[in-house]
Amino acid sequence: MAEEYPEEEFKIAKKEMDRLVYESLKGREVKPNVMFAKMSDLSRALGISKGMVKWSRVNSLWPMQFGLACCAIELMGFGSARIDAERKGYLLFRSTPRQSDVMLVAGWVTKSMVPEVKRLYEQMTEPRYVIAFGECATCGGPWFESYNIIRGIDQVLPVDVYVAGCPPKPENLFEAMIKLQEKISGKIED
């Protein structure tokens, strides 16, 4: 699955800090760092059918929680007792990118956090997906005119599913999870 970075957004901005941040992040290519990224390779190597690989990949997506601000509280509500995320495969909210599949970005991202977000995304193993949770990660939210934030996380990362709301109820995130699973199983046709 090829991923495109929105490269025309890395423009040179007015302040020196913006220039430094964006210059350091421009021009890095994504090389697949897992040997069997394509499903056909994986199924051939393991000796199982493609349907089995698809079933296992879709139904056990482990999230990496990146809860920064208010939406993190609703994210914890998504994982807690009333709306249980574990029944659909989203086990073990962990903070390490090496063992997770989905990155749930919840909260506004400031210019100081952009190198960290990018570095963590590049450390995730393929195949990997991103859900932008809440309005601040989608478009900047109510802080649109602030001098210190990024207007939407899709200026830095490729996003698969957007969830609107301020903050979205945990049921909304449940629906977004189901949409992501449908998107993955529809796209896997290797």
Binding site: F66, L68, A69, C70, A72, I73, E74, M76, G77, S80, A81, R82, R94, S95, T96, G107, W108, T110, S112, M113, E116, L120, P142, W143, E145, S146, Y147, N148, I149, C166, P167, K169
Partner: protein, 364 residues
């Protein structure tokens, strides 16, 4: 004595938020802690200068996202004071009830995360979040939203309480009171909690006031200071409640004080329901009838669940000229630099957890 400098980065698996600590270690003992903040700074004080008066409450609520109405109410009180508007009496009682419900919700979240910080992942958090969901359901009935309610208008509220709100509130409060007993026995009959929380992170009273901490952290050290009793606002001078003071000043005292405060809040809500008069509670519509005088200065102090909150407003025609927010979490975080010498690494996060920080309010 060789010093190692490690970095506990902004992304870490505890539930505090985005905080970077640069720690100087000598073996396992801490010499110095230096917090680097600012990863959530978005310039709220500058943004409020571009919006009209009653367009600002959504900005105020997103500062402390565990008890949003306390900041919203302080701002609306400041605007009412600048315009000379009086709050209706039934609306005052409704505001007190909703604010005390926020305090219960915020302290329940604290009980949930204290288990996480001590290494006991997520059991206590699941219980506490389940109870917090029930309190948020009550608030959703009263205002329409779970987390960010913009329901204060000048002189009153947006809408009155629903008809049988009182019965459902009293049912939920009885349930919460039973659960508080269970949390008490869960924590106090467990020797591990005693070993890890008693006599660690002691803050003596003279040092506490000098450092500027307020709220439950100060009252657990022995200083008697609560804005609800020193300069009472709304109907707090008519309701009977006590300020709890504990004298030890360690982690266990800070946890225990919040538990006792939850019980006081339940008493306050029950008494407020009995004394509430019937009548009208609606406030004015959003558009101002008459603008305030230019350069009028207003100062309002409130007791948020985390500490003392002060809003300083310089008024202009349509928009605030300058709004300055005294956030309690900002100066509570500074206290860790003076409390951390001699602690072990594992105790650092336990102490940080009992200070009960919200990073959105630290960075503003």
């Amino acid at each position: 004595m060789a010093i190692t400098r490690i970095n506990i980065g902004p992304v870490h698996p505890s539930t505090h938020g985005v905080l970077q600590l640069v720690v100087d270690l000598d073996g396992d003992t801490i010499e110095r802690v230096d917090p680097h903040i600012g990863y959530l700074h978005r310039g709220v004080e500058k943004l409020t200068e571009t919006r009209m008066y009653m367009q600002n409450p959504p900005y105020m609520e997103k500062l402390d996202y565990l008890a949003p109405m306390s900041y919203d109410e302080a701002y609306v009180s400041a605007v009412e004071k600048a315009l000379g508007i009086e709050v209706k009496e039934r609306a005052m009682y409704i505001r007190v009830i909703l604010l005390e419900l926020q305090r219960i919700a915020s302290h329940l979240f604290f009980i949930g995360t204290i288990g996480n910080d001590l290494g006991q992942m997520f059991t206590l958090f699941m219980w506490a979040y389940m109870d917090r969901d029930k309190v948020l359901d009550l608030l959703q009935e009263a205002t329409g939203s779970r987390m960010f309610y913009v329901n204060m208008r000048l002189g009153g509220m947006l809408s009155d309480l629903p008809p049988d709100f009182e019965e459902r509130t009293l049912e939920t409060l009885d349930y919460v009171e039973k659960r508080i007993k269970e949390y008490e026995s869960f924590i106090e009959k467990n020797p591990v909690f005693h070993e890890r929380m008693k006599n660690i992170g002691i803050l003596p009273p003279e040092k506490a006031l000098d450092l500027g901490v307020t709220g439950p952290v100060l009252r657990a050290s022995g200083v008697q200071y609560d804005v609800r009793k020193n300069s009472p606002y709304y109907v707090y001078d008519k309701l009977h409640f006590e300020i709890k003071i504990l004298t030890k000043g360690d982690n266990f005292a800070r946890y225990k004080l919040r538990l006792l405060e939850m019980r006081e809040s339940i008493r306050l809500i029950k008494e407020a329901f009995k004394r509430m008069p019937a009548g009208d509670a609606l406030g004015q519509p959003v558009k101002l009838r008459s603008p305030p005088t230019k350069n009028k200065i207003v100062c309002v102090s409130r007791e948020a669940p985390k500490g003392e909150l002060m809003m300083y407003l310089v008024a202009d025609d349509q928009k605030p000229y300058r709004l300055s927010i005294r956030s309690p979490n900002f100066i509570n975080l500074m206290a860790i630099t003076h409390m951390a010498k001699g602690l072990r690494t594992a105790d650092l996060f336990a102490t940080l957890g009992t200070l009960d920080l919200v990073m959105g309010c630290v960075d503003r």
